[in-house]
Amino acid sequence: MDKARLDTEVASGALIIGFGLLAFWLLRATPSGSIEQMGPSFLPRAVAAALLVTGLAQLAAAFSTAPVPLARWSIRSFGFVAASIVAFGLLVSRFGLVAATIAAVVVAIAANPEARWKEAVFLTLALTAFCVLLFVHLLGLQIRVWPTWG
């Protein structure tokens, strides 16, 4: 049995409509004003309406043409890269550049299924040292390097 694959074009149309609805929802309490004296949400609402129309047009076009199967997703690659960024963000202000860089590099390396252990250790150490040298010592950026204790 063929598994029903999601069509790229249909998904795109749904996404555009989703963006439009999200915008309308975010703007629900913002006043729109009038044409001669526009309020903060006048043009944003117009753009949101245009998004809905575009999304519907995209859907209509998608249903009238042959489906385009969705591209292959790599949850692993994307997940680890995103996690690497988040890890850096969570660690850097509290625990300093060294801890954040080590964590982010280790997680980023894991995004690649072909990662090798020895290489990973070496790369992590080398990159961390390089970043501290470049950003803190050469470029003189004001970043906490080490965690502060107590």
Binding site: P40, G55, Q58, W73
Partner: protein, 500 residues
């Protein structure tokens, strides 16, 4: 003449040791990252932009411009050596450039590309110096309605020239406008779409947005693909092109430069359209048509010259009208705004040192590219042999540190993570990201001008067609929409907006 005294001012600004150094650094680092396969100029610029934010506006723009040419030239190097276009405008260079490399003429191909680019850059610099002032003084007559109409025209052309389906390009423009609206409303001071987050009061930050849409998805895409590209194994024997190569290359380079200079000025124009078009022209007029695709030197000289000329003249709309015409220029517009310089016709009078310094530095930048790249070819080959699994963690960590140093704020990094997710989703669904970036820059300016125009006319929409310049631009907009709606032309669009 006035142009010459201004140009001398520019030379004196660009030739200070400090600015020369930033120009050199930009060209070097830009080449370095541009050589890496899959990382295009927009991604390169967004990765490196945080470094330039501590500099003076002039030095920062000079360095960013250097990064841009460096990235573009690095892209050609990768195209010739490994048949992997580092950017979409060097796709054409792959065809004949890599064939030349296969025949042991890699050095010759790289030298022709570099010299052709230098020549094109020199001509384009002169075009800018002469054309920009008159265009800017014409733009001073523009009122709110003209500006609003011009921005809409820019967005329509951007949609028309982008690869991919029209509804998707339109959607990207609309999403970009919407993201540009986030934050405090300038006129009423009330907030909108901030999700109650303090960090969004000043709007969405440009650097995490550009990185998230371009750099991170490009990195993930490169991880997903198994490494298949084979680096040239033959040693590069001679660098200097033969006499025959020269005599065949220079007319092609001349034609490419002329075409590129003109196409670059058009809104939505830029390197890709110019390089594709000049390649097909060369192929059509050549007496050795059968050599194209098998290492014809014209096939390298013409598109490389066209690409570089267009890359440079595409600054003209930004510096004279304040309207970025493609993704790369949008990043530079973002950098100008962060530095407190409003792109537009007033730049020339309010920041003459920046304006003329930037133009003069373009020529220095092109010269430096030749000086940097020809001796460093062996280094680039070595870099291309490094496995990507060692490179990408470095790029990710540079992105993170770069974004963090903007304001030492964790919130900016979280924005990067969110936009990376959005960027990855959009890439998988084949949405073109460049129009989004363009619309994000234009959004707030467009809103301001539309509001002001309608305020002055008490809500009368005729204000957009009552004035001759405004009417002309509106008619151009309508013309573009009609052309787009005609299916035969719509189908033939072949991606001309610098996306990546």
């Amino acid at each position: 003449m006035d142009v010459f005294s201004n140009f001398l001012l520019g030379l004196s600004v660009a030739a200070t040791p400090e600015n020369l150094m930033f120009c050199f650094l930009g060209a070097l680092v830009g080449s370095l990252i541009g050589v890496l396969p899959g990382i295009g100029p927009v991604a390169t610029l967004s990765i490196l932009m945080p470094i330039t934010l501590s500099l003076s506006p002039t030095a920062a723009l000079i360095m960013l411009a250097g990064i841009y040419y460096g990235a573009a030239y690095g892209g050609s190097t990768a195209a010739i050596l490994v048949n992997m276009p580092g950017e979409s405008s060097s796709v054409v260079t792959c065809i004949d450039g890599h064939q030349m490399a296969r025949q042991g003429r890699a050095g010759s191909a790289l030298a022709i590309a570099a010299l052709g680019s230098l020549f094109a850059g020199t001509v384009a610099t002169l075009v800018m110096a002469f054309a920009a002032p008159s265009l800017a003084s014409a733009a001073l007559a523009f009122g709110a309605s003209e500006y609003a109409a011009l921005m809409v025209l820019g967005l329509i052309v951007a949609m028309a020239l982008t690869e991919g389906s029209i509804p998707k390009s339109i959607a990207m423009v609309l999403v970009g406008l919407m993201l540009g609206f986030v934050g405090s409303d300038v006129e009423t001071g009330s907030t909108r779409m901030t999700l109650g987050l303090v960090g969004l009061l000043d709007g969405v930050d440009f650097v995490p947005l550009a990185m998230g849409l371009f750099a991170i998805p490009e990195i993930i895409a490169a991880i997903e693909k198994p490494e298949t590209h084979s680096v040239l194994s033959e040693p590069i024997r001679r660098l200097w092109p033969t006499k025959e190569d020269f005599s065949r290359a220079w007319p092609a380079s001349l034609r490419g430069t002329a075409l590129g200079s003109v196409l670059g000025v058009l809104p939505g124009g830029g390197g890709i359209l110019a390089s594709f078009l000049s390649y097909s022209i060369e192929k059509r007029i050549s007496r050795r048509r059968e050599e194209f695709g098998h290492g014809a030197v014209e096939g390298v000289a013409a598109p490389e010259s066209a690409n570089n000329a267009a890359a440079q003249t595409s600054f003209i709309p930004l510096l004279t009208l304040g309207i970025p015409s493609n993704g790369v220029v949008a990043v530079l517009a973002g950098a100008m705004l962060i530095h407190g310089v409003n792109p537009g016709p007033l730049v020339m009078t309010s920041h003459p040192d920046l304006f003329w310094g930037l133009i003069a530095s373009m020529w220095f930048g092109n010269l430096m590219l030749v000086v940097i790249n020809l001796p460093l070819i062996r280094l680039w080959v070595a870099l291309l042999k490094l496995p990507y699994r060692l490179l990408y963690p470095s790029i990710i960590i540079f992105c993170c540190i770069g974004v963090y140093t903007l304001a030492n704020s964790t919130f900016d990094i979280m924005q990067l993570a969110v936009f990376s997710a959005v960027g990855y989703l959009l890439r998988k669904l084949k949405f073109p990201p460049a129009p989004l970036l363009l619309a994000f820059i234009l959004g707030p300016m467009l809103e301001e001008n539309v509001r002001r125009a309608l305020q002055l006319s008490s809500g009368d929409f005729l204000v957009f067609i009552n004035r001759p310049i405004s009417l002309t631009i509106v008619l151009l907009c309508v013309g573009c929409v009609v052309l787009l709606a005609l299916p035969s032309i719509g189908r033939r669009r072949s991606g001309a907006l610098a996306g990546d």
